[in-house]
């Protein structure tokens, strides 16, 4: 079905069957097909309005990404609307994506005519009134102010700090996240007004698919999903393979626990991804593309579907896009919660309606993938980099980053760190810069212990290696990997053996079961780790045997690494190997002394009852799941250490603070 496409000017004769190749320029700069200064002025005025360069009335932006909502942005939004209505003041209220500084969520921006755009956070419902008052011309709440977006002197004479000077933003280089949190993700016009879809127009108009592959290869863009394969090279293989049908798949199955970059990009700037996908599909001559996205991201799915609909409506997807003869349909496929589906062959199996199990490669999907046709699987961040590469040229992209890894990388910074959030830094930035300068170091007055990078396939990096630069090669050398970009900071209270066990439990649960090293090997690894972090299951083993199990742990881990079928198994032992390498003393304390030095292992915790404080209320006795507390009413109780499982139920139950954790 072909419906009419909105005409831009009266004399415009273009329709969906005969689209205009210059539509994007026409929308922002006026018609190229004829001299018409009035239309050109109107178009640039429209674009300026869309960019909100000189607003007539104040605009309030509320960050309602998933992280904002979790922090209570929904309530803030309502409170602001209520406050505005009460003051009978009219201001535009817009929902935007995430600007990245999660620890200050809910973040609210206020755009005042003549004073620029100011960011505030955290703005709870209680502070909403003050923001609304500031919009109506009242005092600006400086205690909540994060900074002003526009840099330098804006001629207003006030001394509000710039957002770019905020320590969180100072060392960032934003390409992928450029628009996130700034534009309204539900309106394609705003993306176009900020230069969106120009790269696609340019690629379709002046580049052949082969030239485009070449351009991207020259830019040095490598797969951001973790593997780091040269994107342009992968495309060339798919382009060179002859077939009736070819497919592009966007891998948005962000399964790494601790990573949320893809979610934020899709929620905050979905059109960047769509434009990137259209460019990639054109480069490999695919006319059908899929986005395989996690079902756990309902908001991202909703925004993406809406964005695809708008792009179709504008003629930027669908039939004969911008009169280039290139057709593209994008379908959204929801994942069903299997970590292994992040592996490309498993992902393809899942789209085909099968169990998501990897298959041996070669043949690589670029040769034979979805429905046995050539298929390119690219990660969200990889695709989101493409518009900038095509528009600004490969040299500009190469200028950022290192010789071996070009461009930037988005990291999700979380764990025990002062400022959590989403950061985009140039490749080659040192880890310590990310953790201490951008993240503000460890929260509270605790000591930094390690940073975990790359999710279940990555490793833990201790303080002595924090001067490592983030690029594909350097991370590999210290036993970690780029992974998809989760950075979880751990402090002295985190037990590294427990972290290794946590990841192994995850991998063991998510192992698809096809190859034996991964299925059985990870089970053995997990068992050994469990014997270290639990109290009784290894009873009867003397310290020597337990130490031997640690030696075997390493041997087994290396075997799994060498013999597994897919990336999941091959990288599964990384958390163990890296913690064993850098935190051997913690393993030894667990093995020899059955003691957890940092107190992170629940089962190795011991509790005792303070006789001074216990009143004999029996609350703990009734809560203890192991029957480890003895005592009668009004008499002091005591804990039988050999029965205690360390769950802490008594600790939660006691209202007198009589249970002491040792």
């Amino acid at each position: 079905m072909i419906e009419p496409l909105g005409q831009i000017e009266e004399y415009c004769r273009h329709s969906r069957l005969t689209p205009c190749p210059n539509r994007v320029f026409c929308l922002t700069e006026g018609p190229l097909c004829r001299e018409d200064p009035a239309a050109a002025a109107a178009a640039s005025e429209r674009a300026r309005r869309m960019r909100r360069e000189s607003p007539e009335k104040p605009v309030i932006f509320v960050g309602t990404g998933t992280c904002g909502l979790a922090a209570g942005a929904g309530k803030t939004l309502t409170a602001i609307k209520v406050a505005l209505a009460r003051m009978k003041f009219e201001a535009e209220v817009i929902e935007v994506g995430c600007i990245g500084l999660c620890s200050s969520e809910p973040i609210v921006d206020l755009l005042l005519p003549g004073r620029g755009r100011l960011s505030f956070g955290p703005v709870g419902p209680a502070e909403a009134g003050r923001i609304a008052a500031a919009a109506a011309g009242g005092k600006i709440p400086r205690d909540l102010l994060l900074g002003r977006h526009q840099a330098g002197d804006t001629g207003t004479g006030d001394d509000l700090p710039g957002l770019a000077e905020h320590p969180f933003f100072r060392s960032q280089t934003r390409i992928v996240l450029k628009n996130c949190g700034l534009i309204d993700p539900s309106r394609i016009e705003e993306y176009i007004a900020r230069g969106g879809y120009r790269a696609l127009s340019r690629a379709l108009k002046s580049l052949t698919p082969a030239e485009l592959c070449d351009l991207v290869e020259r830019s040095g863009l490598r797969g951001r999903g973790g593997g780091g394969f040269l994107t342009g090279k992968k495309w060339k293989i798919a382009l060179a393979t002859t077939a009736d049908r070819k497919f592009l798949i966007c891998n948005a199955d962000e399964g790494d626990p601790g990573a949320f970059m893809d979610r934020a990009v899709i929620e905050g700037d979905p059109h960047r991804l769509i434009e990137g996908m259209a460019i990639a599909a054109y480069a490999i001559r695919a006319s059908k593309a899929y986005v395989y996205i996690r079902a756990e991201y309902p908001l991202a799915i909703r925004r993406l579907k809406e964005a695809i609909r708008q792009a179709r409506e504008e003629g930027l997807l669908g039939y004969n896009i911008l009169d280039s003869g290139f057709n593209l349909e994008i379908a959204v496929k929801m994942g069903a919660g299997a970590f292994v589906c992040g592996e490309e062959t498993a992902l393809i199996g899942s789209i085909e309606g099968k169990r998501g199990m990897p298959r041996p490669r070669p043949p690589y999907p670029a040769v034979s993938g979805l429905f046995d046709c050539p298929t390119v699987v690219n990660n969200v961040e990889t695709l989101a980099n493409l518009p900038a590469i095509v528009e600004k040229g490969p040299e500009r992209f190469r200028a950022v980053g290192t010789a071996d890894s070009a461009g930037t990388k988005v990291f999700a910074l979380s764990g025990k760190i002062a400022r959590t959030g989403l950061v985009e830094v140039a490749m080659g930035t040192k880890l310590e810069e990310i953790v201490f300068a951008i993240g503000g170091g460890v929260a509270g007055d605790k000591k930094f212990k390690a940073v975990q990078i790359g999710g279940p396939s990555g490793g833990c990096i201790p303080i002595q290696h924090l001067d490592t630069e983030v690029d594909y090669g350097s991370l590999k050398r210290i036993g970690a990997m780029m992974g998809s970009g989760g950075l979880v900071v751990m402090d002295e209270d985190t037990c590294m053996v427990d972290v290794a066990r946590f990841f192994m439990e995850f991998i063991q649960r998510e192992s698809c079961g096809r190859c034996i090293p991964c299925r059985e090997g990870t089970r053995q690894l997990l068992r050994t780790l469990q014997s270290l972090t639990s109290r009784r299951s290894t009873a009867g083993l003397d310290p020597l045997q337990r130490f031997q199990s640690v030696i075997n742990l390493k041997k087994l881990a290396e075997t799994i690494k060498e013999t597994s079928l897919c990336g999941l198994g091959q990288s599964a032992p990384n958390p163990i190997l890296s913690t064993l390498r850098f935190f051997r003393d913690e393993y030894e304390a667990h093995v020899y002394e059955r003691r957890c030095p940092s107190g992170g292992c629940v089962e190795l915790r011991t509790f005792r009852i303070d006789p001074e404080k216990c009143v004999g209320c029996t609350a703990c006795v009734s809560k203890c799941p192991a029957g480890a507390i003895k005592g009668t009413a009004k008499k002091m109780h005591y804990i039988l250490l050999e029965k205690c499982v360390g769950c802490g139920a008594c600790f939660d139950a006691c209202r007198f603070g009589a249970i002491v954790r040792e």
Binding site: T66, C67, L69, A70, A71, G72, C102, S103, E105, G255, D256, P257, G258, A259, F260, R263, R294, A295, E296, Y297, P298, K333, M334, G335, A336, G337, A338, F339, S350, E352, G353, K354, R355, G356, A412, S414, G415, K416, T420, G421, L422, Q452, G486, V488, V489, M490, T494, V499, F502, F503, F506, E510, C512, V602, K623, P625, C647, G648, A649, D652
Partner: protein, 162 residues
């Protein structure tokens, strides 16, 4: 209570005429969305619609974490067990929930009010530890917040039942 009743099985299947194997997972997702879980009847019906044996459908459905084979509670609690949440104490938080509700992950309380599920990562790592109750997020939780939170939902039910 609900403004419109969710589509039943027949309606869902009718939306996929002549569907093939690659529609299996979307179909199962839609059925689960409307019924809350995959009943035996639903699995057989989906199988015969796609001309697949029920065993194959089960084979796929049990592979993925998303699919449930028993009804879930009125309030479905998802506990994030991602790395950031783990480091910030989602383990003890889950333990507290298990003790308060007296169920394990994957189960539903006897009164049908609450069900508990572990999810790998909700993606709100900056606000860890996080749980989601029927899609409503609760951030920065500690064990002691749990009783109040559950009580809150219980009163909500009483209010809506009145």
């Amino acid at each position: 209570m609900r403004a419109e009743s969710p589509p039943d099985l027949k309606e869902i299947l009718a939306r996929y005429p002549g569907a093939e194997r690659d529609s299996l997972i979307p179909l199962l997702q839609e059925v689960q969305e409307s019924e809350g879980y995959l009943s035996r009847e639903a699995v057989t019906a989906v199988g015969s619609h796609l001309k697949l044996p029920a065993a194959k459908v089960y084979g796929v459905a049990t592979f993925y974490n998303q699919f449930r084979f028993s009804p879930r509670g009125r309030y479905h609690i998802q506990v994030c067990r991602g790395t950031a949440c783990h480091v910030k104490g989602s383990g003890p938080l889950l333990g507290r929930l298990e003790r308060e509700l007296k169920i394990e992950p994957g189960q539903t309380t006897r009164d049908g009010l609450f069900s508990l599920e572990i999810v790998a990562c909700i993606g709100a790592c900056g606000l860890a530890p996080v749980i989601s109750v029927n899609g409503e997020y609760h951030a920065h939780l500690g064990g002691d917040d749990i009783p109040g939170l559950l009580e809150n939902y219980r009163t909500r039910i009483e209010e809506s039942d009145d």
